[in-house]
């Protein structure tokens, strides 16, 4: 992949990994984006990669976390937390203490709040820069990392960032390698008790499975293959919506009917 000489020897990398949730079955697994983060870390030559997880420890989460160990690790650091605790203070403290050069994590978690805010809050707490949507780490030299950021429609942007830095990866990062059962079950959990801060707000929330939202069909009126390709590659554009407030039910229904007629759903 990358020329090995481009890497600073002894680059310390921490990957924040979470317990994932399979979209169909809801079973615990290694989270896809976090696993991509681990894969990215593995591809860095001469890097010392450490896995860090903050969360509750039980049978199913342990099995899921072992999925990361199976990517070729002998241990995973675990900050034990109670259920529903806010993991931010614990992670910030641990990262502050270990002070790695590079922190990699997925864009958002597959369970819990999954708001995708954690990396930003962490960066704010630690005072580090953050780069989102990373596709590759091209090189690290003299404390400066050259990063490739993924933009929509396959575009890439090259960035230079001074270390330490937090980077997040999404589906643009390379797919994670297979997790091997043997190393996964031999790997050890290095458990440390960090600070636990209860998240009262979260505790008062009511959580229920989301229903898939219907997708808007794209009507493409293209004359040439080029237009069709452009239309297919274009990002979905919203924006032509209309907000109705203070209307009677009849008026609302009229508006909906009009829209349905416009869209050719009703004829």
């Amino acid at each position: 992949m990358q020329p090995e000489s481009a890497m600073t020897p002894g680059l310390e990398v921490t990957v924040l990994v979470s317990v994932g949730r399979h979209p169909l079955t809801g079973r615990a697994r290694r989270a896809d984006q976090d696993a991509r983060g681990v894969e990215l870390a593995r591809s860095l030559a001469d890097a010392q990669v450490r896995l860090l997880h903050a969360g509750m420890r039980d049978e199913s989460s342990e099995a899921a976390l072992r999925g990361y160990l199976g990517m070729g690790f002998t241990e995973l650091s675990l900050l034990e937390q109670s259920e529903g605790a806010d993991v931010l203070p614990a992670l910030a403290e641990a990262l502050d203490a270990a002070s790695p050069h590079l922190v990699i994590t997925g864009e958002r978690a597959e369970r819990g709040e999954g708001s995708g805010l954690l990396p930003y809050l962490l960066a704010e707490r630690l005072g580090w820069p953050l780069v989102s949507g990373l596709a590759a780490v091209e090189s690290v030299e003299d404390g400066v990392a050259t990063l490739l950021q993924a933009l929509p429609r396959g575009q890439r942007r090259r960035l230079k960032v001074r270390l330490p830095v937090i980077v997040t990866v999404d589906d643009a990062a390379p797919a994670p390698r297979q997790s091997a059962y043997g190393p996964a079950r031999r790997g050890a959990f290095e458990a440390t008790a960090g600070p636990v801060s209860a998240d009262d707000e979260w505790a008062s929330w009511h959580v229920q499975p989301a229903r898939p939202r219907p997708k808007r069909l794209k009507i493409v009126k293209a004359a040439s293959a080029r237009d069709r390709f452009k239309a297919a590659a274009a990002k979905a554009e919203g924006g032509s919506g209309q907000v109705l407030t203070d209307v009677t039910p009849t008026q609302g229904a009229e508006a909906i009917l009009t829209l349905l007629r416009e869209e050719d759903v009703l004829r």
Partner: protein
């Protein structure tokens, strides 16, 4: 002079052989332990050789007779030579009789060696050359030499006939024969197969494969051996040659390089980088340490280079068989692609006269690659991940297993709790093609008034593909959960239209029942069950389909489970014209769909299903009848050569469903018939 020389020659050959034997045994003992009944095993050798091994050898009549003459002649001649020439035992008429017997034995052996020589004159590609080419000459040297030196013993020639020069020449000839046949046996010459082969028969890892005097023993042992996952620190699978059990190593050493396995291997024929014979020889190279440069048979095919040259690979008993991903040139004893090319069709095992277990060895090595290295190629890793999180290889919603049957109102086991038949649907429920087969099967069962029920969403993948891909952990997890589900319900038997599920449920789940429980139900493939229904008169068929069909034996139904007859009986009952392919029955050629091969997708020069459809076309059949969703999928994926008609691929259940006599019978008309009217249309279309 010969009276002095001969005993010396004989006994030094024997002594050297003994030294060689010890060294050879040491090589085998590098393997992992595997307890065997030593004395009982040794006592069983003659029977296992004469009955079971010859059952396989006798498929080639000429070779079988050749071997009987040569090997029988040799054993007798060697024994008698020790008595007559070595010990000088017997006097008077006794020595005369022994002498004549010895002459007869060596003459028989000579006759046999002439046939060996004839076969070696223009040997087929599957035979190894190299040292094997000198074997007929060595056999002749031994038999002729012993014959001539025995002539004086029976008084045909004077003891000192020809003087010392002749005596020396004779001694040299006998020495050559002894070198090849006696100590060559334990020092790694071609005759090694006799020594290792006899012990391999004695200590075979699957003694169930052999018949017993009582005539019992199905001679079939095809379920993979369970991998012990209890010890969570133990490395899993076979990484180095010494990770095989010692009797597996012994088995590899028994190979005679006859190449029968090579001749039947579908992956080899397709030009994928696998040759089962070479693979076994590579294991022997690894066990002794060295490179494969001396291998003198057909190499592994290579899609890019035609053939993989020998001499590039090397191994040691404790070194890795497959080079780990991190090594630069990526070469060790064998390439990973070689192991992933196998479809686990068992054709090689079925043909091997030495009863070597290629598939066991290949899966053992795959276990290491998958469980320790995480290196399942192609879509393998994805399939395994899907199996872990969704219990089916396609990653479909496990809650949608019965979506295809929304209109069929299949009785659920969870509701009825007991039924005559538990219908195991398999992962074909997610595949539109196989759903047609399942509908046909349901229609047939209903027509016969069979009381059946399905597990519905409680069913999981049987674990077959995970296991063949080396993921024993996922297999065992699926197996245990399926067993727990099955244990909740009462049924007389399991019926399935998937031979892979059939094999796994029938032969492999037994090892995973909790203590004190055992599987107590028979498992039937739908062809067997339908045949039973026809024989019991429970199905009314309207014969008169004038189709010309051929039948493809699925590996996991035929070679794995010995069911060749029932599907053919069903076809006969349908009244269709059945033409057999040249390779059918136990010699059926794989469709290419087994062992996760479509998932790992190792490139070759051609595709296995294309070759098999070629076999089908040769018969000029209009339809090929199959009994396996994998085979159906593989065959339907074949594009017919330009200008050729498409050959229809039909599952045997579809054939039967289409032939059901649906004219109402005044006496019995079950309401069920009405409810399946819709399914009928589906099937006929």
């Amino acid at each position: 002079m010969l009276d002095i020389l001969l005993p010396i020659l004989l006994f030094s050959a024997l002594a050297l052989a003994a030294v060689g034997a010890v060294r050879r045994i040491r090589l085998w003992r590098q393997g992992r332990p595997s307890p065997v009944p030593v004395l009982r095993g040794l006592a069983a050798v003659p029977r296992r050789y004469l009955v079971d091994l010859h059952h396989v050898v006798a498929r080639d009549k000429v070779m079988s007779n050749t071997h009987v003459a040569t090997a029988g002649g040799f054993v007798a001649a060697m024994g008698l030579a020790i008595v007559v020439h070595g010990l000088g035992l017997g006097s008077g008429w006794v020595s005369g009789v022994l002498g004549w017997l010895l002459l007869a034995a060596s003459a028989t052996m000579f006759a046999g060696s002439l046939f060996v020589a004839r076969r070696r004159r223009d040997p087929p590609a599957r035979l190894s050359k190299g040292p094997w080419m000198r074997l007929p000459k060595s056999l002749m040297a031994f038999s002729l030499g012993i014959f001539v030196v025995t002539l004086p013993a029976v008084g045909v020639l004077p003891a000192d006939a020809g003087g010392w020069l002749v005596a020396l020449v004779l001694a040299a000839v006998v020495t050559w024969g002894l070198a090849e046949l006696v100590f060559g046996m334990t020092w790694g010459g071609p005759m090694k197969h006799a020594f290792a082969g006899a012990l391999h028969l004695a200590f075979h890892r699957r003694p169930e494969r052999f018949s017993t005097k009582k005539g019992s023993g199905g001679n079939r042992s095809t379920g993979l051996k369970a991998l012990d996952l209890e010890d969570d620190q133990a490395p899993l699978g076979v990484e180095t040659p010494s990770d095989f059990t010692w009797n597996q190593l012994l088995g590899f050493d028994a190979c005679v390089q006859c190449g029968r396995c090579e001749a039947v291997c579908p992956a080899f024929a397709a030009g994928q980088p696998l040759n089962p014979k070479k693979l076994i020889q590579d294991m022997v190279v690894g066990m002794a340490g060295g490179s494969d440069a001396h291998y003198a048979g057909s190499p592994y095919p290579s899609p890019e280079r035609g053939d993989q040259p020998v001499g590039e690979h090397h191994g040691t008993p404790h070194g890795p068989i497959v080079a780990p991903a991190s090594t630069k040139d990526g070469k060790a004893l064998v390439d990973a692609e070689t192991l992933w090319s196998c479809t686990t069709c068992r054709a090689c095992v079925e043909e091997c006269p030495m009863m070597i277990e290629h598939v066991d060895a290949i899966v053992d090595m795959r276990r290491h690659l998958t469980l320790e290295e995480g290196a399942t190629p192609g879509k393998g890793a994805e399939v395994i991940d899907n199996l872990i999180v969704t219990d089916n290889p396609g990653g479909f919603d496990p809650g949608g297993r019965l979506n295809w049957a929304a209109d069929l109102e299949l009785p659920l086991m969870a509701d009825v709790e007991r039924a005559e038949v538990l219908l195991w649907l398999g992962d074909g429920v997610f595949d539109m093609r196989n759903q047609r087969t399942l509908r046909a099967l349901v229609k047939v069962l209903r027509a016969a008034g069979v009381d059946f029920a399905v597990l519905g969403n409680e069913e999981r993948d049987s674990g077959d593909v995970a296991r063949r891909l080396g993921d024993e952990a996922t297999f065992q997890s699926l197996a245990r959960r399926n067993i727990a589900t099955l244990a909740q319900y009462r049924f007389d038997c399991v019926v399935t239209c998937d031979p892979h599920s059939f094999h796994v449920l029938k032969n492999e789940y037994g090892a995973f029942y909790p203590e004190g429980q055992a599987s107590d139900y028979p498992v039937w493939h739908h062809s067997t069950f339908i045949n039973q229904l026809i024989e019991a008169g429970r199905l009314r068929l309207a014969p008169g389909q004038a189709a010309r069909v051929t039948y493809h034996d699925p590996c996991y139904l035929g070679r794995y489970n010995g069911e060749y007859e029932a599907p053919r009986a069903v076809l006969r009952a349908l009244g269709v014209e059945l033409v057999e392919m040249q390779r059918s029955g136990y010699r059926s050629r794989c469709c290419g769909g087994g062992g996760g091969a479509p998932v790992t997708d190792i490139p070759g020069k051609q595709r296995i299903p294309d070759m098999r459809m070629g076999d089908v076309r040769e018969t000029q059949a209009e339809q090929v009848v199959v009994g396996c969703p994998q085979c159906t999928a593989m065959f339907e994926g074949v594009v017919p050569p330009a200008g050729d008609e498409e050959v229809a691929v039909k599952d045997i259940a579809e054939m039967v469903a289409a032939a059901l006599d649906t004219t109402p019978v005044s006496t019995s008309s079950t309401p069920r018939d009405a409810s399946t009217a819709q399914a009928t249309e589906e099937v006929m279309s």
